[in-house]
Structure formats: C-alpha cells, structure tokens
C-alpha cells in the first residue's frame, strides 16, 4: 500500500516525498476513515484530497469558502493534467451550472461553495453519484469561536447525511483546541481520526518595531529593503494603500522590482503578478490578505505587516507564507499607538448595525403584508447597504428564526418579530464583542514582554519548539545577525531582440540548453 502511495505521488505530482502529515491523512482517507487534519499553512493540505480524488473511484466533493481560491486550484490542477476537476460556484451562469450538474459522473473532484450545497437540484444530482469523500476545507469556518465563521457551514452535517454519509475530511491550518472540538461536534462526526500538527514555524523570527506614526513605517521598510534584497511580502489592510506604498517604495528602492496585488485587480493582471512573484521576477509585493492563498512560493524571506489583521489566526496564516523552504526568515510587524483603528473599522463593517436590522425587518413585514413572499437579495443589499458578509449573516439568522423557509418569507406574529429583532441585536453585539476580544489578543501579543514565539503559538498547541535560527526581538533578535540566502537575480536584458531570442530559445547562449 505504502509503495503504491508514493508511486501515485510521483506519477501525479512529480514529487517523490510526502510532506509532514500528508501521508498519514491520505492513508486513512483511502481506508474510508473520517479525519480531522490540522496542518500548518503551506504544508500542502490540498494534496490530502487531490491525490485520493485521483486514486479513488467515485466523486470527491470539496466545500471551500473562497471562490477565487477554488478557481485558482482548478486551474492549477488542469495545468498539471488533472482535467476531471471543476469549481461550482455563483460565478458560473445558468447553462454552465447545468452542464456541470448533468455531467457530474465525468468528474472526480468538484469544488463547491457552501451556498451551492443548499441548492436542492444540485443535491439531488449529488445523491445519484457515488461520493467517495466529502472534504470540508477551512473547517474552522464552522465554529462560532473560529475567526471566519460562515453560517452556511453549520448546515453541512445535514448535507453529509443527505448524500449518504460518505467519509469526511475536515481540514484547517488554524484551529485552537476549542475550535477543533467544535468542528467534530458540528459535523456530527465523533469517530474522526485526529491528525493535529503543530503550527509553530521554527525558522521564522518574530520582530515588532514600534514607530512614532504611520509615515515612518515606509521609511523603515525602505531602509530594510536596501540592506536585504530578498523576496518580501508586505501586508496592508486596504487596496488603496497597497498601490500607494508600492509607488513610494519604488522611488525609495529603485533597484528592487516592486508591485502591488489586491482583489480589485482584473483577472489577467492578478495572474501575471502572482506568477511573476512565483518566478522571482518580482522582489516585493505590497498586498492585501487576498494574496498568497493557494500559491506556494518557497523562498519568501521577509513578511512585513504594515497594518494589523483583525485576529491572531489571520496573522499566523500570513506569517506562515515566509520561509517555506525552512531557511531563516523574518516576520516584521510595524506598530504604533493607532494599531487598532483600521482593524476595528473592519470589524464594524463585518456585521450589520442595529438600525439596518430594524429597517430590514420593517421592510420584510411590509413585503409579507402585501403578499410578496420572495426577496430580491441584490435589491435588499443595495437598499439597506449590506455588504456580502452582513447579508449572509442576516439571511442565516432569518432562516434560523423561521422567517425564511426555502427562500420564501413566512408570516409571523408581531410579538415574534419583536423577539427576533431583539435576539439578532443581542447576537450582533455578542459577535462584535468576540471579534474585538480577538483583536485585543493580537494587540496584547504586541505589548507582551515575553517570548513572541511562545506567546503566539501556545494557545494553539501544548509546546512550542525552540527557534532554529534567531527567535524574536524579546529573545535578542538583531538584523545584523540575519544572513538570508539571496536568490540570484536573473540577469535580463532590456533590449527587445535579446529578450525575444531568449524567450524563443534562439541564439548562441541557448544552444547548449536545448540541444
């Protein structure tokens, strides 16, 4: 069996060795066991179902909350020659969806958004397939205590039952022991085999640098990039900032190749920038959290946080993009007394306000009274200015409270309505408090005097390994002692004839390679 596994690995991916944790999970999965896999970012979680999808008979269904990520992954799989993979999500139009529904038996791996699994017709088609494995990616989304709670995930247990109880594989990179328990409970899968791997990264040093105000942050980064011309990612919390910072840094450090990346760019440009960074054609990326998911660049040496994320879990994920090759890498967080402002604003916009909720409920009452039982979701969203996260939250609450059944409004008494409004208000307050507490955890970490590595990872695991290189600024880190491996820059000509020659393998200097 083991020999076969490595054979398949080599055959399908060209690698000859599994990374930590992969083989154990895949072995269990192939034996039909349900598993919970907690593997650190960048450890190749997706292989744990992609390989089984190729080997097993039947269909592997993967629930993933991130549409862009599933599209990227399917593209990558197709590039590797795995054509029986497809992503099913709201971006497809009616005919495209129908085509997938009717040819389900021709696929081996289907990625779906959680919303898609609420589509009765799709479920009916799924029931006709033999499902070999049901994968819950980013499984922490199922937990109210997780950092990216997705109400849709709570319905997954019913879906699993509905499609005939296939083996389940729940995967996450960041789940505290509480969240792990919650995942198992919510999926109703007590018999899950647990594969929990420590998420601390012993080759990354943690540095917090306090500066007087935001305007010194870029100066500091520029000075650092002058001395260390290494593959670098700089995280910002707004799209506009990534653009501005890239421009400013470009003038400060003109010999570095710097670009920005965010979710608002057009598809082609996003692919180009991503690929350039992968291919060492870019040195520095100024990005939002949209960058990095699903790409696996091994030699990122420096990750900088210009702005704070809203919680420790995201921070750990972003930090984890550094040093995947195991070499000495650094995370630098730039801090000042206004650290909390932006993340707080973000948290505010993730949930609807009391006012919005009250107005929506009035509007719904009006609809029901005039016998209008369907909701135009996009109209509601524009009218009450809900963003996607807010509306998803509210819609789920309306369903839970029985005000919406099968996408139709239900008549309720006015006393019930009052109670529901009250309930939702309370819930919003509670979730906001929870999110703010998570932000406070991160802020406290910044101001903590203890070892940064220990303080960061102890909530997630029992022990933290000692650092392989330098540890953190509280354990005596100094940039002088950091000697990162420098990736050799490709020397490229600016002359178009040279560029064209080398692109097409023409001219003398390519004869050797191609003959």
């Amino acid at each position: 069996m083991n020999k076969t596994l490595e054979y398949y690995l080599e055959k399908y991916t060209g690698h000859n060795e599994f990374r930590t944790g992969q083989k154990e999970i895949i072995t269990d999965v192939l034996e039909g066991k349900s598993c919970l896999g907690i593997l650190p970012t960048g450890s190749g979680k997706s292989l744990c179902y992609q390989l089984p999808a190729r080997v097993l008979n039947g269909l592997v269904v993967v629930v993933s909350p991130l549409i862009s990520l599933m599209i990227d992954q399917v593209k990558q799989l197709k590039a590797e020659g795995f054509r029986e993979a497809v992503a099913l999500n709201s971006f497809l139009d009616y005919t495209e969806k129908q085509q997938v529904y009717h040819n389900l038996d021709q696929y081996k791996l289907v990625y779906v958004s959680p919303e898609m699994l609420q589509n009765p017709y799709f479920l009916q088609r799924l029931r006709k397939q033999s499902i070999s494995l049901f994968v819950v990616d980013e499984a922490h989304c199922i937990s109210q205590w997780g950092h990216e709670f997705r109400p849709d995930y709570l319905k997954l247990d019913t879906v699993i039952q509905d499609i005939g109880n296939p083996p389940v594989l729940a995967l996450s990179a960041t789940a505290t022991p509480d969240v792990q328990k919650d995942i198992i409970k919510q999926l109703n899968c007590e018999q899950m085999v647990k594969h929990i791997h420590p998420m601390d990264r012993d080759n990354i040093a943690f540095v917090v640098k306090t500066v007087e105000s935001d305007k010194y942050k870029l100066d500091y980064i520029a000075a650092l990039l002058h001395s260390y011309q290494v593959p670098t990612m700089i995280y910002f919390s707004s799209r506009k900032w990534t653009e501005q910072a890239a421009e400013i840094l470009r003038t400060h450090v003109p010999n570095l190749r710097i670009a920005f990346y965010h979710g608002g760019m057009e598809q082609t440009d996003r692919i180009l920038i991503q690929q350039q960074f992968m291919n060492d054609q870019l040195d520095v990326i100024c990005c939002t959290s949209a960058f990095g998911m699903g790409i696996n660049k091994k030699n990122v040496r420096l990750v900088v946080h210009y702005h704070l994320p809203t919680q420790v879990e995201s921070f750990i994920q972003e930090v984890g993009r550094a040093g995947r090759d195991g070499e000495a890498s650094v995370n630098l967080l730039l801090s000042n007394e206004n650290d909390q402002l932006l993340p707080k604003q973000l948290i505010e916009t993730e949930l609807p306000t009391h006012g919005q909720i009250t107005m929506l409920m009035d509007y719904l009452r009006h609809l029901v009274e005039s016998k209008e039982l369907t909701i135009d979701e996009s109209l509601v969203s524009t009218q009450f200015q809900f963003n996607e996260t807010q509306w998803r939250f509210l819609k789920y609450q309306l369903e839970v409270h029985g005000m919406i059944k099968e996408d139709r409004l239900v008549q309720i008494s006015s006393s019930d309505r009052k109670a529901i409004v009250n309930d939702i208000h309370l819930l919003v307050d509670k979730r906001k408090k929870l999110k703010l507490a998570k932000l406070t955890d991160l802020i406290n970490w910044i101001h903590d005097k203890g070892c940064r590595r220990e303080r960061l990872f102890l909530p997630f695991q029992e022990q933290v390994r000692p650092a392989k290189f330098q540890c953190c600024d509280h354990c005596g880190f100094s940039f002088e002692e950091w000697n990162p491996t420098i990736t050799n820059k490709r020397i490229t000509s600016d002359n178009w004839e040279d560029m064209l020659q080398s692109l097409f393998f023409q001219g003398e200097h390519h004869e050797k390679q191609t003959s």
Partner: protein, 352 residues
C-alpha cells in the same frame, strides 16, 4: 499617443459633436449615432480601441489635456484643439501613424488574434522547455481550443514552429521603433518569463497607462495588416489568422445565398431554386448585412426609407422591432427593419 488620437478626433469632428462622442467611439458603443459618426467623420480606425475605458478615466484625461493647453472644452461639452494642440498633432503624426489604426475593420477578430498568439507563444515555449505546469494566461475558450488544435498538428515539429514564430516576429518587430518592439516583447509570457501587466509597462516606460493600451492595440493592428497583406512573408504569424478572416458569415448556407445575390438572383428566386423558405433567405441577408460592411441593402430598403426608420429608432430609443414597426404604422416589414438595424450595426432585440 492617446492625446494624439483625441486631438485627431477633435479636428475631424469640427466642433460638431461633444467629447462624449469620442468616448463612445473609443469604447465601441453599438449605437446608430456612434456608428454614423465614425463613418461620417472618418474615425472608423478608432472604433472600439479601448473597450474597457472608464468614463472617469477618460474625463481625467480630458482635464489633463485642457490643463496642458492642448484642447479647450466649451460649456456644452464640445471640444476642439488649441493652436498648441494642432501643432502638437502635426509634429507628432508626420509618418501618418494614426492611419494604421483599423478599429472597425478588425473589430471582429483583433482580440481573438492577439489572444491566440499570446497563448500559442506561452504554450510552445513551455512545451519546448518540457514544462507541463503552467497557468494559461487567458480563459478564452476559443483561443484555447485553437491553440490546442494547432499544437496537436505541430507536436512533432515543435522546433520548427518555435523558430518560425520567432523569425516572423523578429521580422515584424524590426519594422517598429525599439520602444514599440520592447513594449510588445515585455508583454509576452513564455517559459519562466511572465509578461508585464499594463501598469508595469506604464511604470517602466514612464508612460500613461492609456498610452500603453493604445500602443499595444496599434502594434496588433499593424501585425494584422502585415500578415493579411503579406501572407507569404509571415507564414507562421498567419497561422493565427486561420478561420477568423474567412469567417465572414456564420453559416455556410448564408454564403451560398450571398453568392447568388451577387449574381443577381432575387430573394424569391433564391428560395425557389434552393427549396428553402423565404424567411430563411431573409435571415441570411440580415446576417450578411451584419457581417459585410460593404453590402448594400438598397435593393430591399431605399435610402429615404432607411432614414425614416433610423429617425424612428432614435426617437423611440429602442431596438425592439415590434415598437418600431407600430411607430411606423406597419409601413415596413420586420425583414426591412432588421436589415436596417443590421446595416447600422444595431442590436436586434427581437419582436417581443
């Protein structure tokens, strides 16, 4: 380059249109007004040059040109070049570079051609390097299908194909300035060489992003012109033209109808001799009117009648056949209305 185009448009529009007309022209708006303007003022070359151009961006550019003293815009939004603008246009368009834009002529296939070429280069250079895992730079299904088929055909002569495309491109690019050639080559994606985004090109060459946009279009139009007119000189580039040039009509049956019309047959005669319904032949003729810019519909609808219909269409602000027909007191048949819409490149919204 972008300002040159604007200046040229303003010169030719002779203060008879607002600057919005230029915006609609550049984004390729399919309205009778825009199409008429394009023909009337000899601006067809610029039709649809930057389909994705945002109004905001366009306005910003206009403001910049006003500030630089190249143009003036009056209170009604009518723009015209200043003396400085006129001089600027004359000095910078000495080689008649602006005449090489063929927006309307190449409208149907310029983009597909460029996507085919880009994807082909990415594919064959990766295959040559025996690299399998690369992410296609376009999702366009038509382009992907074509590259797949071509690659299958040349799989065993890959070296020949790579070298062939190289020599064709080299020969073509040598006709451009170094900067133009560089822009083109930097944009290409191949094995371990990812092309630059338009913004990156703009930064590197210290140009406005709109200038980059129009330069790239300029180069592609030029490749098209060269490879259409000198097929023998560019045997490999011409491959990417396959099927898009002679795809004048969607259906073969329409081609037969077309040939018969050219030989003087009437609709009735064609229907009789081909044993087809009159309706079918009418459909063909509408299709032909849509695809062939030189096709005259005078035999089916007179000039004055066309004008009458266009006026009604403009007045109604609709392309709905039924409404137009009623408005004109059922004076014209659906066929005639559809024909006028097709000829003037207006979308047919059906008779409902």
């Amino acid at each position: 380059m972008f300002s040159l185009i604007i200046l040229d448009c303003l010169m030719k529009l002779r203060k008879e249109r607002t600057i919005s007309a230029i915006y609609h022209l550049l984004t390729g708006k399919r309205s009778s007004q825009t199409l008429q303007d394009a023909h009337m003022y000899q601006l067809t070359g610029y039709f649809g040059l930057i389909k994705s151009l945002q109004r905001k961006e366009f306005n910003k550019c206009m403001e910049r040109m006003v500030k630089n003293g190249l143009i003036s815009i009056d209170n009604d939004g009518v723009g015209f070049p200043t003396k400085k603008g006129e001089d600027y246009l004359i000095t910078n368009n000495q080689s008649n570079i602006l005449e090489e834009f063929k927006g309307m002529e190449y409208e149907k296939f310029a983009e597909l051609f460029s996507l085919r070429l880009l994807l082909l280069i990415q594919t064959i250079t990766n295959k040559k390097a025996e690299s399998t895992g690369f992410i296609a730079l376009t999702d366009d299904k038509q382009a992907q299908l074509w590259v797949k088929q071509l690659y299958r055909k040349y799989r065993h002569e890959l070296d020949q194909l790579v070298t062939g495309i190289y020599h064709d491109l080299h020969a073509f690019l040598s006709k451009l300035t170094d900067q133009q050639a560089s822009l083109f080559v930097e944009r290409l994606t191949g094995y371990e060489k990812i092309g630059l985004s338009k913004l990156q090109l703009a930064n590197k060459y210290k140009m406005n992003i709109l200038d980059i946009e129009v330069w790239l279009v300029y180069i592609y139009h030029k490749i098209l012109t060269e490879s259409i007119h000198e097929k023998d000189k560019y045997p490999y580039l011409t491959l990417a033209l396959e099927g898009i040039m002679d795809q004048t009509f969607v259906t073969n049956s329409a081609t037969v109808t077309y040939n018969m019309l050219q030989n003087g047959f009437t609709i009735d005669a064609i229907a009789r001799s081909r044993r087809l319904k009159l309706n079918t032949i009418e459909d063909h003729i509408v299709e032909i009117a849509y695809m062939d810019p030189y096709f005259t519909i005078g035999n089916f609808v007179g000039e004055a009648e066309q004008k009458e219909m266009l006026k009604a269409i403009e007045l109604l602000q609709t392309n709905r056949l039924k409404l137009i027909k009623t408005k004109l007191n059922d004076k014209f048949s659906y066929f005639q209305i559809r024909l006028v819409l097709a000829k003037h490149r207006l979308e047919d919204k059906g008779s409902m």
